[in-house]
Symmetry: C2
Subunit: 345 residues, 2 copies
């Protein structure tokens, strides 16, 4: 099993999760609803932190839950910890081992808050510390760069959101995700072609907004850890508050722009990049208008609702990162300087 | 008045704020204490967002208040807004004009939450929307890159924290900040020398941890918007969860490592960068051990307590960014692609 196998395993992983874990996630949602939760306090690192960003947007908009992304250092470096009694304290971690994420859950539990672990390791310290666990059941992931555990974490976040809401159409929409992911995998050939043209790429900006800000963050991390590309992710709005100054003529700009509430702003930005900056644009979208603005375009299947797009937009991004890594002649399985489990305090 | 004047104005701005605004900040803190605030929900963009990161760490550790950094897009793009009744909703903005930040405060107020604006423009839409306002009184800032309004925002955040706590030594410590900032300004000559050596710099990583993660973010933004350097900021812990892969032999790594709880981890990382990566290190610190590990070192005055270090560590970082911009022959007053006020929705 290598990185490419794990990328292609994703439709099966997601289908299996829906088939076996959805009822448990619904029970977890019932327990959450029965408690007096004012907000969510969420700790994660690396790729799992991007699943946390998705939770921030999704639980915030669909479930009206404010989500605070924790600074785990607050719990390990300083003596005073925030008061968490009215929070749902969530930890997301593939391995369930990073001591700083565990310490946030431990403090939440000590204070009497409801605690939830989302992890691929149901016997891990994180799961043992939390009152509730959602197992993402992605199976062993051997590549250092996370792919199937990321989309499985997104699925757990999406399913909890659907179960917390009262609208049955949300739960029904989840069932369309594995098929859409399978369709997105057919973009491999095009992603490989673009990657071959980009083999000299050393830096780029990656933009998304709303739900798909998570995808921009995750794509940039894959580009960094696999292809050693200096890839800087931004929400399209934050980017305008300063960082846009680094864009010079011909600069590589990658944009994730699925149809939905954020599309109009992204189209305006895409026009500006093309016309003012002659930027080297790569666009992932299901919108023909957005795709037509870029010399490099990856066209998504357009059959999932906006709130589920991060589970699909990341697929061509993973394929592109994988093939760019190969085109550059780097190791797709074990990038330099990294281990599968990182323990930070 | 230009950027350098505004950098050098900072001791006076901070002293004037303490002399004229501290009593008002204490009254604001009393009102906050009298309300049933469970957590803080904070909206900001660009440089002001880095003052928000400082608030996240400081109010979290000193005042035990969980701080959620808002995704303003949630309020402008999607129909469901988070429930904020039990939150203190804070907006930080120099101009007080960005509609997305204003919309978060407006929604908080509509829901009956306590709302607070921290701004340089007490007649701005942000201040008019909020129930409480802390005026940072930095005077007109003409350079597009924010400097004195940033440290004035940090001072407002620090003063509210001190006033919310019961310990009088915290309020007393604020008085030492203007002098320490004045001392830090004497680093200009050394910062200019290093900048001259770095005139070919196009990319770097900027690391901080704990309170000074805010300084790492702000330094990276100054390098981007002024010197067009692709500068990537990380918390030192997050950096180990993937992004460290981009560091190759001789890579420029900037580290903000004042004495305090985060120093030991940063020293370990500095040793690793020097010995494993032969990284090109630039260190801002008041610790001789940290400074000795780097060929380029900016030695801070060591007389402010750890929780106030972000007000001082950013000073040599601003000076370095200013002189690097001049060494590269760029415009220090009006960077390309930017305006003083950015309006995002």
């Amino acid at each position: 099993m290598g990185l490419r196998d794990e990328i292609f395993e994703q439709p099966d992983v997601l289908q299996r999760w829906l088939d076996t874990q959805l009822p448990h996630a619904q029970r977890v949602a019932e327990i959450i609803r029965a408690r007096d939760v004012e907000y969510v306090f969420l700790a994660a690192r690396g790729t799992s932190d991007h699943a946390g960003i998705y939770a921030q947007y999704l639980w915030g908009s669909l479930n009206r839950l404010p989500v605070a992304l924790a600074a785990p250092s607050l719990f390990t470096l300083y003596s005073g910890s925030p008061r968490l009694q009215k929070a749902l304290v969530v930890g997301i971690s593939q391995s369930g081992e990073s001591p700083d994420v565990v310490s946030v859950l431990a403090e939440g539990r000590r204070q009497g808050a409801l605690t939830l672990a989302i992890t691929n390791a149901p016997a891990s310290p994180l799961a043992q510390t939390a009152e509730l666990t959602v197992d993402i059941r992605a199976g062993a992931e051997t590549a250092v760069a996370a792919t199937k555990t990321y989309t499985a974490e997104l699925m757990a976040v999406a399913a909890l959101s659907a179960a917390l809401s009262d609208a049955s159409e949300y739960l029904g929409a989840l069932a369309r995700v594995p098929g859409a992911v399978r369709q997105a995998l057919t973009l491999e050939e095009r992603a490989q072609q673009i990657a071959a043209q980009h083999r000299a790429l050393t830096r780029c900006v990656v933009l998304g907004r709303g739900y798909d800000y998570a995808s921009a963050q995750e794509w940039a991390l894959k580009l960094k850890e696999l292809a050693y590309v200096f890839a800087d992710p931004y929400s399209a709005a934050d980017f305008l508050h300063g960082p846009i100054a680094i864009v010079e003529r011909g600069f590589p700009v990658f944009v994730i722009a699925p149809r939905g509430a954020a599309l109009n702003d992204l189209l305006t930005l895409l026009h500006r990049f093309r016309d003012e900056y002659q930027a080297d644009l790569l666009v992932i979208s299901d919108d023909d208008g957005a795709l037509a603005l870029a010399p490099s375009a990856l066209k998504l299947p357009g059959d999932v609702p906006e709130w589920l797009t991060p589970l699909v937009t990341i697929i061509p991004a993973q394929l592109y990162a994988y093939h760019l890594t190969r085109a550059k002649g780097y190791d797709t399985q074990a990038p330099r300087g990294l281990h599968k489990v990182t323990l930070t305090r």
